[in-house]
Amino acid sequence: MARQSTVGAAAVGTFAETFEAVVENVAQILQGKEDPTRLALVCLAAEGHLLLEDVPGVGKTSLAKALARSFDLEWRRIQFTPDLLPSDVTGASVYDRENGSFVFRPGGVFANVVLGDEINRASPKTQSALLEAMQERQVTVDNVTRRLPSPFLVIATQNPVEHEGTYPLPESQLDRFLLRVRMGYPDRTAEMAMLEQPESRTSVDDLPPVAGPDAIPTMVSLANQVHVATALKAYIVDLATATRNHPALSLGMSPRAALALQRAARALAASVGREYVIPDDIKYLAGPVLEHRLVLSPEGVVAGVDISDVVTEVLRGVPVPPGHTGM
């Protein structure tokens, strides 16, 4: 059997240490939100983009900023509004009277970490400008293609409550987000601790970096080398098949989703210092990776099915591989 190149335990250990250092760093700003932080980091290590879906005021912006600060990355925020133009996102060539030529002014996406706030408020045209940049990691304006800085992580937010005046993202574009994470309210103790803190606490801007920007490519390449047993690949395919055949779904997992699941699982395994993926990783990530990609069938909508219940049901219906040894 073809054995893929695997990473050593020591290298993965370094990965996990960096990972935990960043999580602890972010925790100074965001109490009780370790798991969303880790998922965001997994997303970063898997070279994916993150869709944060939650109500305002739960720390979405803080998370994006804190992540950028921890890696000493450049950070930008684009507030999406219905009148936002694609050029506001990508940048535009502006006539420079002094030089007598058009000069490119980079838009909001030219940063390592881009926070696309309330992405569903912008017109589809603007949304697709961002989403194209996310996928291609480059921007083409006036026939000139410009690479976006690396690493490049888009953290887009959506408000799930308000629907008035929004343009919901089409499925094909949602598919481009690796993970969708719900921040959720902090639990009681974390919220009380937050209130206890003096106003003069560490602000996001003062957060010291714990790793350099070059740490991210290293993490990405390490995560890509994490071993995935053949049985687990089959498990992912089984899950995909199950979603495609599920009666409550009209759109199941795309092949890109299967790839995304594997990539995210690798990053997760590396994040706990494990050099191989286990079924638990896949099951844990199935919700964040799949929920925003699956589309309920009309029957499912009528029956009031929650998409997370469907994912849980799919996980219960697919046997976990017993694994085979001696690979």
């Binding site: 054995r3 695997t6 335990a9 250990g13 370790e34 798991d35 880790r38 071993h227 047993a229 049985a231 687990l232 089984d238 098949t241 199950a242 055949n245 599920h246 009666p247 409550a248 997760l268 994040s271 706990v272 210092g273 494990r274 050099e275 191989y276 993926v277 286990i278 079924p279 638990d280 990783d281 099951k283 844990y284 919700g287 069938s297 009309p298 029957e299 009528v302 029956a303 009031g304 099915v305 929650d306 997370s308 219940d309 469907v310 849980t312 049901e313 799919v314 996980l315 219960r316 219906g317 697919v318 046997p319 976990v320 591989p321 017993p322 694994g323 085979h324 040894t325 001696g326 690979m327």
Partner: protein, 819 residues
């Protein structure tokens, strides 16, 4: 509206609608596939079923004398099974297959039993008429036949052959078209039970053993070749892959128990007493208790067993030892219908002790009476030294609530006239008023011929008193016209035997003498009944040793409330020490009013030949073929049954516990040299243990999820040691996960895993209670079954406190690769 196709989120995926093409939909719910397409072939199972049918038919060896039944029965059994098999193979539709099978039964029966009536092998009208004649013959012979019956009686052979043919069809249908092993095994088993209930003792162990072996073999083969793992076994119960073993074991055990405890004692003609020896119901000594014909029990023992000691009596005077009495003459035999009640020490319903009687105490020690009755000396008034005894005041008999009275020691106090009763007293006794309660003792069937009444009148014509009539009857039988013979030309109690005895042969033993006396006495209006019991026995210094050869029956006549029932002795060469005062054994003695003083010196028993054939038991009224008792001891049968149960238990234990060890060992042996497989083997073993502890693995669960869930289950039961145990279980689960999915694992892992599995197993086994331990050693899958296993595992859902810690949970952080 879409409501008719609406998707319900509560339904599980595995049970979802047909859109799911993932293949697991094939696990359909169990059903008894009555309309399923018959599978062709199943040679192995068909052979096993044929073997079972043949074995069941071999039970006939105990019914028939001779071997001429063997070929027809076996040919039919095998032939019908072969035809059914061929019909299945050819995929014949059910009606056609059934018709073919029935024709085969008819043809085989005709060829094997009524061959001469066929025309070139074709059964025709003559065959049908012969068949009918044979069936009528069987029906008539059935009432009086005693097994082993001659196999030359065509009727019986015919019924056996037809029966086995139909049984074979039914069994084949149930086993292969309905696909139920149980239903398939039932018809041959029923045939076997029927054979057993008519058969007699010889070859019993062999036949039963063969039947059990054939039954189990068939169930096994059927399960392996025909049955499916998820198929209904019995009702809606769902059997797992190894569940059939438990089910089969339980059902066989239940069937054996029912057969041994309920059926055997209930079938009146069998000689067995059942494992527990219950006669009827479970009632103790206090409640009313119905018993079967009382002398059946004696009947089975008496013939041929002349010297077996039955009981010992220590008594100051000699007496007949009475078991019970029979009050109803049916025309065929004498029966009794008694109802027994518990009592204290004094017997209820006993009248005041009459004047002129003496109270006598007898100590009884029962050796091998093998019956529920307790002997006593007539008339008992109290019983001490034994518990659980019931009494019927009508027949003055005592029974124990135990299986038999063997081994009991007790003291009976009874009043006896000894020799104090003078003929004069009896002659002056007032005539008996016939009350409703006495009427049964005068009953005679309408079929008693007038000759008998005439004879009775002529014998007693010169007598005016009841006593005189009773004595005249006794003297009539003691006269020179009658002779005592152990082998009379016409044996039995029936009316034809009676008239034969009275008018022609005049030859018989106590059965004929006493029975005829009672009929004649009733014919002239004397309330009479038949007492059953034993003659005095051999006297050694006041201790009487009674053997089977002393079994005896004699009439008792009622002389009003002053005297009660008084025994008479019409049988030649017998002498009742009690009755000889008022009814001396010699005709001359009765004439004089002998007033011998009461004697305390016991009278010795009349001389008897050792081969005295004192059959006192009348034929029963069940109408079955009558059974000649075997010489085997019931206790032997009970012991061998116990031994078989014990052996089966030990074998089962060895099969389960040893089988599990062997399975584990084989798995490890196969995994030798493969570290990952060895770790997985340890985990699989532990999974079985955890399953035993109530957590069954679901297929959609990862190792660690299962470990956490099992750990929580253990924590609920063993709060004390749970943290260590839970930790170890989760650690082993992670080792197993590592072994399954890591590219390579350290060489020390198998050792670690095996040690952990051993420690957990040991700890859990020590903490288990006895019931759980028994389940572990006695059942192949001691845990609960998870069904399809895909939809039942509880999962941590969003919002709840997660049952399974997430991957970054610090409290459970453990990375096998770096531990």
């Amino acid at each position: 509206m879409l409501t008719n196709t609406s998707y319900r989120p509560t339904s599980t995926t595995a049970e979802g609608p047909d859109r799911d093409r993932s293949g697991r939909r094939a696990r359909a719910r169990p059903r008894l596939a009555l309309s399923a397409t018959p599978l062709p072939g199943h040679v192995g199972a068909t052979l096993a079923l044929t073997a079972l049918t043949v074995t069941s038919a071999s039970g006939l060896v105990r019914v028939f004398d001779g071997r001429s039944w063997v070929v027809p029965v076996l040919l039919t059994a095998i032939g019908v099974h072969a035809i059914c098999w061929a019909a299945r193979r050819a995929r014949l539709p059910q009606p056609a297959a059934l018709a073919l099978a029935l024709v085969a039964v008819w043809a085989l029966t005709a060829w094997t039993v009524l061959a001469t009536s066929t025309v070139y092998g074709f059964p025709g009208r003559r065959t049908a008429s012969q068949l009918w004649a044979a069936l009528v013959q069987a029906h008539t012979a059935f009432a009086t036949a005693v097994s082993p019956v001659s196999s030359s009686i065509t009727g019986f052979k015919l019924v056996s052959v037809l029966g086995i043919g139909l049984i074979a069809i039914l069994a084949d249908w149930a086993a292969f078209r309905w696909r139920s092993a149980l239903y398939g095994a039932a018809p041959p088993f029923a045939y076997f039970v029927a054979g057993c209930s008519f058969g007699q003792g010889r070859g019993r162990e062999l036949v039963v053993t063969a039947e059990v072996v054939a039954l189990l073999a068939f169930l096994l083969v059927h399960r392996v070749t025909v049955g499916r793992a998820d198929q209904a076994w019995f009702g809606n119960h769902r059997a797992g892959t190894a569940g059939w073993a438990i089910t089969a074991g339980c059902l066989t055990a239940a069937a054996s128990l029912v057969t041994a405890v309920a059926i055997t004692p209930a079938v009146g003609t069998t000689e067995g007493t059942g494992v527990l020896g219950w006669r009827a119901g479970l009632g103790g000594a206090s409640g009313p208790r119905q018993v079967a014909n009382p002398v059946v029990d004696l009947h089975t023992r008496l013939i041929f067993e002349s010297t077996t000691p039955v009981f010992k009596v220590r008594s100051p005077v000699a007496s007949y030892w009475r078991l019970t009495s029979l009050n109803t003459f049916t025309g065929q035999d004498w029966v009794s219908t008694d109802t027994y009640h518990g009592f204290g020490s004094h017997l209820p319903g006993v009248q005041a002790v009459p004047a002129g009687t003496r109270l006598v105490q007898e100590n009884f020690h029962i050796e091998e009476l093998d019956s529920v009755w307790l002997p006593d000396a007539f008339t008992p008034i109290s019983v001490t030294g034994v518990r659980g005894v019931s009494y019927d005041p009508n027949s003055n008999s005592l029974i124990t609530s135990k299986a038999t009275s063997n081994g009991l020691d007790f003291t009976v106090e009874s009043y006896q006239y000894l020799s104090t009763l003078h003929p004069g007293q009896l002659e002056s006794a007032p005539p008996v008023t016939i009350t409703a309660s006495l009427r049964p003792y005068l009953q005679l069937p309408a079929t008693v011929p007038p000759d008998v009444y005439a004879l009775a009148k002529s014998i007693t014509a010169s007598q005016s008193t009841e006593y005189g009539k009773a004595l005249a009857l006794q003297n009539f039988f003691l006269g020179p016209d009658f002779s005592y013979s152990l082998d009379p030309p016409d044996d039995g109690y029936g009316i034809s035997s009676l008239t034969n005895f009275l008018f022609h042969t005049r030859e018989g033993y106590c059965q004929q003498f006493a029975g005829s006396y009672a009929v004649l006495a009733r014919a002239i209006g004397l309330p009479t009944r038949l007492a059953v019991g034993f003659a005095t026995g051999t006297d050694t210094d006041g201790t009487y040793q009674v053997t089977d050869a002393d079994a005896h029956t004699w009439p008792e006549v009622y002389f009003g409330p002053n005297f009660g029932w008084l025994p008479f002795e019409p049988t030649q060469s017998f002498s009742d020490p009690i009755s000889k005062g008022y009814a001396p054994p010699s005709p001359e003695g009765g004439k004089g009013s002998s007033t011998t003083s009461p004697t305390t010196s016991p009278t010795t028993t009349p001389p008897k030949t050792s081969e005295h054939r004192a059959v006192v038991a009348p034929p029963t009224t069940t109408g079955n073929a009558q059974v000649v008792p075997s010489s085997r001891r019931h206790s032997t049968a009970a012991w061998s049954a116990l031994l078989i149960v014990l052996l089966v238990g030990i074998a089962w234990f060895g099969l389960i516990a040893g089988g599990r060890r062997a399975r584990w060992w084989v798995r490890r042996w196969r995994a030798r040299g493969d570290a990952g497989a060895l770790v997985r083997a340890s985990w699989d073993e532990l999974s079985e243990v955890l399953n035993w502890w109530g957590t069954c693995r679901s297929q959609s669960e990862t190792d660690e999820e299962f470990a956490h869930r099992a750990g929580r289950g253990i924590a609920l039961r063993l709060p004390g040691q749970s943290p260590w145990l839970r930790g170890e279980v989760v650690r082993l689960a992670r080792l197993a996960t590592e072994a399954a999915f890591a590219p390579q694992i350290g060489p020390q892992r198998p050792g670690e895993a095996a040690a952990a599995a051993r420690a957990i197993h040991r700890s859990l086994f020590r903490s288990a209670n006895t019931r759980m331990r028994l389940r572990w050693v006695l059942t192949p899958r001691p845990g609960r079954r998870s069904g399809s296993g895909l939809a039942k595992a509880p999962q941590a859902s969003a919002g709840d406190r997660p049952l399974i810690p997430g991957p970054w949970d610090r409290t459970s952080r453990f990375v096998p690769g770096r531990a």
